[in-house]
């Protein structure tokens, strides 16, 4: 008895300190590589804008003021209004709209990969663990979906279902599951035969427990890399759909919709209307891509020599 009680804390504490060490190693590698650190900082700012947009934005993003239409960046309006990034064709403050736009981009990006990731992970685990006809059906479905330009499907569904944050999250999320399913399946196939999975099976653990407790934790790492790249591409897709007028209702400011509005003023050479929302998209997407690259190198240093 005494032997067991003295051993138990050790077993529990080992993974924790290991995790902390891994975390420190990650931070150090990030600081060393510089760019990922900058990317993380940018994303931190975008996240702040998304979370606290209503409190930090100087003006109501939908307040129209016909007196200050198309004001230049850094110009002043009535009642001490200051337009850091100018105003649009309806006299709305571009900076405030940018801050609100961060909210939609991040929400859609993160929620869509959670939807797609959940479907894909479950499908991949089932396909990899059980094999046979389950595997066949799931993977063939994936093949069919990949054999089709996805944005077209998204357009069709959104035209019929109508715009809305939830619809766009579901449509873009469902578009992503195949990537996750393929990777999870491949990993599960190789883990299925490992001794510790064998051991769990021999101990009589129920199958769901083996799948989700024994296998799943061991395939999380490569998924974070995919997820990082995926958020980037979902944000790009969301911007495209918003640009086409298929995103969220018109009274919600999004970066894509701001770019769509800017087209009316294109000939008038009001550059700030198109420049700033576009830069917001580029910086956010670029940051996710840089983080994904770094994460991949960090988790699998063998790849570094190649890329």
């Amino acid at each position: 008895m005494t032997v067991e009680t003295t051993q138990a804390p050790q077993i529990v504490s080992r993974p924790l300190s290991h995790r902390r060490r891994e975390f420190r190693r990650a931070v150090r590698s990030m600081v060393q590589a510089k760019w990922p650190l900058l990317a993380a900082l940018i994303l931190f700012c975008v996240a702040l804008a998304a979370l606290f947009g209503p409190w930090i934005s100087p003006l109501d993003p939908n307040r129209q003021d016909i007196m200050v239409r198309l004001a230049d960046p850094l110009s002043e309006g009535r009642r001490n209004a200051f337009f850091l990034l100018g105003t649009d064709g309806l006299g709305r403050d571009v900076f405030s709209r940018l801050l609100y736009g961060a909210r939609i981009s991040l929400t859609v990006g993160i929620c869509a990969i959670m939807v797609g990731g959940t479907i894909g992970v479950i499908a991949g685990l089932l396909a990899g663990y059980f094999g046979g006809w389950i595997d066949d059906i799931i993977m063939r479905l994936g093949d069919i979906q990949l054999a089709f330009p996805f944005i077209l499907l998204a357009i069709m569904f959104l035209v019929i279902l109508g715009p809305g944050v939830v619809n766009i999250i579901i449509v873009l999320g469902v578009g992503q599951w195949v990537t996750y399913a393929r990777i999870v399946r491949a990993q599960t196939l190789s883990l299925r035969e490992k001794e510790y999975v064998e051991a769990a099976r021999a101990l009589g653990d129920p199958t769901p427990l083996i799948i989700f407790r024994t296998i799943l934790p061991n395939i999380i790492a490569p998924l974070t890399v995919i997820a990082s790249f995926n958020v980037a591409s979902v944000i790009l897709s969301e911007a495209s759909l918003s640009f086409l007028g298929l995103g969220v209702p018109p009274d919600v400011p999004t970066w894509g919709a701001m770019l769509a509005d800017s087209r009316d003023q294109l000939m008038a050479n009001k550059w700030w209307l198109a420049f700033f929302p576009g830069m917001a998209i580029v910086l956010t997407v670029l940051s996710f891509n840089i983080l994904g690259d770094w994460l991949r190198d960090f988790l699998d240093p063998r790849l570094k020599t190649m890329g």
């Binding site: 069919i144 069709m156 019929i160 279902l161 086409l244 007028g245 770019l259 550059w271 997407v285 891509n289």
Partner: protein, 324 residues
């Protein structure tokens, strides 16, 4: 070879059936699809009449078979805003979209491969660094924003490239007017430069990175060392021995690339007022013209599946290692 072709054809048919099922389901998901075809002020009797005319009162399997039957004949119903068959509008717009897609595809290969090769041969240098930085950036820029920025810079500031306009090439070709098609060609390409680059930039960036990493892999292999030790010129080693193997991953991507490019084309057409399917779809979206959206989506899907099939068959012919 024949079994490969037949398997690939069967696969395409399954995908097409999948596309029709999805299109059909999308309609049903809106609740009662009749409401998509009538104006908001329609009376109950009008709605009922439309429902019967379009067959939405029939059981679902029958509706699907009808839908499939019409689709085979290219009948998606009349456009709600143009009052003529939706497929006609789509077919008129298709050549312009094909021109843009194929040109972008051309750029995505012809520009990307030299960039990737140069980067891999100068690994770690400033040239490599700037190509890789451009590659990273290119994968983060929305194509339509790039289009807008190009219009502002090259079109409105420098005034060296046209900001919109289109000179048809494929259309006269189909009509058999070869003389007009080829006299048009220089102008066609001139108007294609900006929209083409806007669409292709993402793919150029990705392919350049792909070529670079697979070149680096190939350059370290034994057969390249053997070629070098035989005293063959560096040029021949790179082009004949290394590149020939290194660009295979890019070729495998070409099929899927089309799908990606079509997505970009749809959005970029809007920016340049390109008279293709993308602009058609955009206008149809604003007017909730469901038949046109459906006809456009299904047509583009078919084009994509056909191009994909062709690429795969050609690929199987080129690379004897491919077996499916």
């Amino acid at each position: 070879m024949w079994t490969f072709i037949i398997r690939r054809l069967i696969q395409s048919v399954i995908v097409i059936i999948g596309v029709t099922l999805i299109t059909f389901t999308a309609l049903q998901m809106s609740g009662d699809p009749t409401y998509l075809y009538v104006s908001e002020r329609a009376t109950e009797a009008e709605i009922q009449r439309t429902r019967e005319a379009l067959g939405f009162d029939k059981p679902l399997p029958e509706q699907y078979l009808n839908f499939l039957g019409n689709l085979v004949q290219g009948d998606f119903g009349n456009s709600l805003s143009y009052k003529r068959p939706a497929i006609e509008s789509v077919m008129e717009a298709l050549p312009a979209t094909l021109e843009l897609t194929l040109f972008a595809m051309f750029l995505a290969i012809v520009v990307a491969i030299p960039l990737g090769v140069v980067a891999s041969l100068n690994r770690g240098s400033a040239v490599d660094g700037s190509i890789m930085t451009m590659g990273m950036l290119g994968q983060s820029i929305p194509s339509f924003w790039l289009g807008i920025m190009m219009i502002m810079f090259f079109g409105l500031q420098l005034r060296i490239l046209p900001i919109s306009g289109h000179v048809p090439f494929i259309m006269p070709l189909i009509q058999g007017d070869f003389l007009r098609a080829f006299t048009n060609l220089p102008q066609t390409l001139y108007y294609l430069i900006m929209p083409g680059f806007a669409v292709a930039f993402y793919s150029i960036s990705r392919n350049a990175r792909l070529v670079r990493s697979s070149m680096l892999e190939v350059l370290g292999q034994d057969f390249v060392r053997t070629a070098r030790s035989k005293g063959i010129s560096e040029r021949a080693v790179v082009i004949r021995h290394a590149l020939r193997n290194a660009w295979l991953p890019v070729v495998t991507m070409i099929g899927l690339e089309f799908g990606f490019l079509i997505g970009g084309v749809v959005v970029v057409e809007m920016v340049f007022s390109w008279p293709g399917i993308g602009r058609l779809v955009f206008n149809a979206i604003n007017q909730r013209d469901i038949p046109v959206v459906q006809a456009a989506v299904v047509t583009l899907a078919l084009v994509f599946i056909a191009l994909n099939l062709i690429v795969d068959l050609v690929y199987a012919k080129i690379d004897p290692r491919v077996k499916l």
